[in-house]
């Protein structure tokens, strides 16, 4: 026990004496949490909207005013021909072009039906779909107003049946994206810091040659490993705590669930990550190699975690792969507990998988760590 205490002391001293690292460990992640949580939103707003109005009547202008009034569209420019409009789209200056044909109003009155043509930049397919829905909504509501003005009493004979839908958004009725992203980004930062630091730690001693010195001391294998990893567990928990305080104070993220459950789960989760870090450092000779491998897995874990993009939309084989992704479970648990107030029985499946993962990872790490060369 005393030996472990000494190693832990040494590790902490090393961490706190490296003045260049301290801000990287504590300040950088938190700044990122504050700034980047604002960046991550799929809400489609301020769509760069332009129009070609060949009708140029008060009727067509009323339609454009309708777009102007919508919070989704920024009516930026109007073009006189399709050619100039297309060029602007190529340059990326506009994303939507609405073309109102000549005789738009006249045709509507005469033929009772008229067309509008809309060109949407669809490189971001999902956004283009949403933009299309918004355009349809605006045109429809404009259409309804126009119908109400134009229709004769005789048109009202067959009143259509309407199904009214009432949306109700639970847990987050303002659809605030930040409450969704903040827990997720916090998870990432805790993971990255603990994985990178633990992954590099032992390789560094190998590379500098000090590991040999440690190996010839009477320190036992388990003492060494615990002494090496414990400080990072503390760092991770510290980071989580500061992050949670920021989430509460700055972003006002609701914390419905139990804090102790979150901490309990985080401890087990960090054990998984530390085991992984140790495992990586056992199999590499240089910090460079260790970092490449750690980076490789972190990028995959991040992008396959359901943090930014939904897991349900992935192909089936990819969904199976995500079952091996510890970040996925952590993101799920944090969101469930923080935002929905899930209790222990709700997160039991994730909890058990993480415990299993921790045992396997640390078992492998301890097994592969050898005091002799």
């Amino acid at each position: 026990m005393k030996t472990i205490g000494y190693i832990i002391q040494k590790e902490f001293k090393q961490i706190f004496r490296n003045k260049a690292m301290l801000p990287l460990i504590f300040v950088l992640p938190l700044i990122q949490l504050i700034i980047l949580s604002n960046a991550a939103t799929f809400e489609i707003q301020h769509i760069k909207f332009s129009y070609i109005d060949q009708d140029n009547t008060s009727f067509s202008r009323a339609l454009i005013d309708k777009f102007d009034a919508s919070p989704y569209f920024n009516v930026s420019t109007h073009f006189s021909s399709e050619k100039t409009a297309n060029l602007a789209m190529l340059k990326g200056d506009v994303d939507v072009i609405l073309e109102i044909p000549s005789y738009f109003e006249r045709d509507l009155l005469k033929d009772q039906k008229t067309n509008l043509s809309v060109i949407i930049n669809a490189i971001d397919g999902a956004a283009a779909g949403v933009e299309n829905v918004y355009i349809n909504q605006i045109v429809q509501s404009f259409n309804k107003n126009a119908q109400a003005k134009l229709m004769q009493p005789s048109d009202y004979i067959n009143k259509p049946k309407t199904i009214e839908s009432i949306p109700s958004f639970w847990y987050n009725n303002t659809l605030n994206y930040k409450t969704f992203m903040v827990p997720g980004i916090l998870v990432l930062l805790v993971t990255m810091i603990t994985l990178f630091l633990s992954g590099m730690n032992i390789v560094r001693e190998k590379e500098i040659g000090t590991l040999e010195q440690m190996n010839v001391t009477p320190i036992k294998k388990y003492q060494f490993i615990i002494g090496k990893l414990f400080p990072f567990l503390v760092l991770g928990m510290l980071l989580l705590t500061i992050g949670l305080i920021i989430a509460k104070l700055i972003f006002d993220v609701p914390m419905v669930g139990s804090l102790s459950l979150m901490y309990l789960y985080t401890i087990i989760y960090i054990l998984v990550i530390l085991g992984m870090g140790l495992f990586i450092s056992n199999f590499t000779d240089t910090q460079q190699q260790a970092m490449f491998i750690a980076w490789f897995f972190v990028v995959i874990f991040i992008l396959m975690s359901g943090l930014f993009t939904p897991i349900e939309s992935m192909p089936q084989w990819a969904q199976y792969l995500t079952e091996f992704n510890p970040i996925k479970f952590y993101v799920e648990v944090m969101r469930m507990v923080m935002l929905k107030g899930a209790d222990f029985t709700d997160i039991l499946p994730q909890f058990l998988k993480t415990v299993g993962y921790a045992i396997v990872m640390n078992g492998l790490a301890v097994w592969s760590y050898k005091k002799t060369n």
Partner: protein, 368 residues
């Protein structure tokens, strides 16, 4: 010059003798592009949905079949009381519940109006909003079909044309982003580490007292990585063309030129990082912690920049990856030439020059 070539040779030996790193350097980007190209999408599909049907009549059955048969939803469940919604949401089993009011079809026939409640788990606002839109459009279609007898006059029909990506494939959105992120991180990380490594091991001292000029030392360090990154870029472009069927509408030559420009940009950023950090550990933390998330989040790779708050839109301008993604999408999907993307190209050039000048200024040829 001969000395310089010798030095570059040494660097190549360094890289090629470390087979493990070499394997990671080439294998990793391929694995990532393949995985992400197939798996990452911002579409919302296969949402688990449940129905709470208080009326259980022919109309609600019909609507339910309509909703279930859509590819947006999967795994339909039926629940029978209000309390089940909460517990199902908490477990995360379902994302939305559609509630039909009592006597649904009776009301629809007698009063011409009935209500459906769409309850969504809005912890994920995007999914919630999209599910809401999907269900609404299904309901609307259903109404239009049943109301066929009563045609309304004066209809405006918007006809949308999706340009550059008619099938709305999300691969087109993500492959350029994945390519950018991998090139950026691999290049910046590799150079920053390889230079600080010499510092940390003490061999930098030897290089500095050699007749090689400091400038040559740096360039010599970077040249091999330029080659490696170019090979990586070629492999990624080939993958995106042949595996993901990305079109290259524009000139392949321009694509190559811009990629080299971006690689040099990322490498010079790596040099800058190495000049300000003393140990490999610091260099790695700066290039990983400092670059990874900002590059993923602020480059427009996943989240549209135009939707961000204004200050962040301004900040996103300093991320080189943002400009490269615009260039890539422009060349590959829109088929534009330098006439249109000269501004983005110029910005990348300016950033590269800035990084290099700053690193030359910061580069210390004397030991402390």
């Amino acid at each position: 010059m001969k000395r310089f070539i010798g030095f570059i040779k040494k660097e190549f030996y360094h890289i090629f003798r470390d087979t493990r790193s070499l394997f990671i350097l080439f294998g990793m980007p391929i694995a990532q592009v393949m995985l992400f190209g197939f798996a990452i999408t911002n579409e919302i599909n296969n949402v688990n949905i449940a129905f709470f049907d208080k009326s259980k009549d022919a109309t609600t059955q019909e609507i339910i079949t309509k909703i279930v048969s859509s590819s947006y939803f999967s795994n339909k469940q039926f629940i029978t009381n209000e309390a089940e919604i909460e517990s199902a949401f908490k477990k995360g089993d379902i994302k939305a519940v559609i509630v039909f009011e009592k006597d649904f079809s009776e009301k629809l026939i007698k009063e011409n109006k009935a209500t459906v409640q769409i309850i969504t788990d809005a912890t994920d606002p995007n999914t919630a909003n999209t599910v809401n839109n999907y269900v609404n459009s299904i309901l609307q279609k259903y109404q239009q079909e049943t109301n066929k007898s009563s045609t309304t006059p004066y209809v405006i029909v918007p006809e949308s044309r999706m340009v550059y990506n008619a099938e709305l494939k999300s691969v087109f959105m993500f492959v350029p982003g994945v390519m950018t992120i991998i090139l950026m991180l691999v290049s910046a990380m590799m150079t920053s580490i390889s230079i600080t490594r010499e510092k940390e091991l003490g061999t930098m001292e030897i290089l500095l007292v050699s007749p090689l000029k400091p400038f040559q030392v740096i360039v010599g360090k970077v040249v091999p990585y330029i080659f490696l990154s170019i090979i990586n870029a070629i492999v990624i472009v080939l993958l995106s063309i042949f595996v993901f069927e990305m079109p290259v509408q524009g000139s392949l030559f321009l694509l190559g030129f811009e990629s080299v420009l971006f690689i040099i940009n990322a490498l010079s950023l790596g040099i800058l990082i190495s000049t300000i950090s003393k140990t490999q550990q610091t260099a790695m933390m700066v290039s990983l912690m400092g670059l990874m998330l900002p590059v993923i989040l602020l480059s427009g790779f996943i989240f549209p920049i135009s939707s961000m708050p204004y200050p962040l839109q301004v900040i996103s301008n300093v991320i080189p990856a943002k400009w490269f993604i615009i260039i890539l999408k422009g060349i590959m999907l829109k088929g534009v030439g330098l006439a249109i993307i000269w501004k983005e190209t110029l910005i990348l050039v300016a950033m590269t020059v800035f990084f290099i000048v700053l690193s030359v200024k910061k580069y210390k040829i004397r030991l402390e």
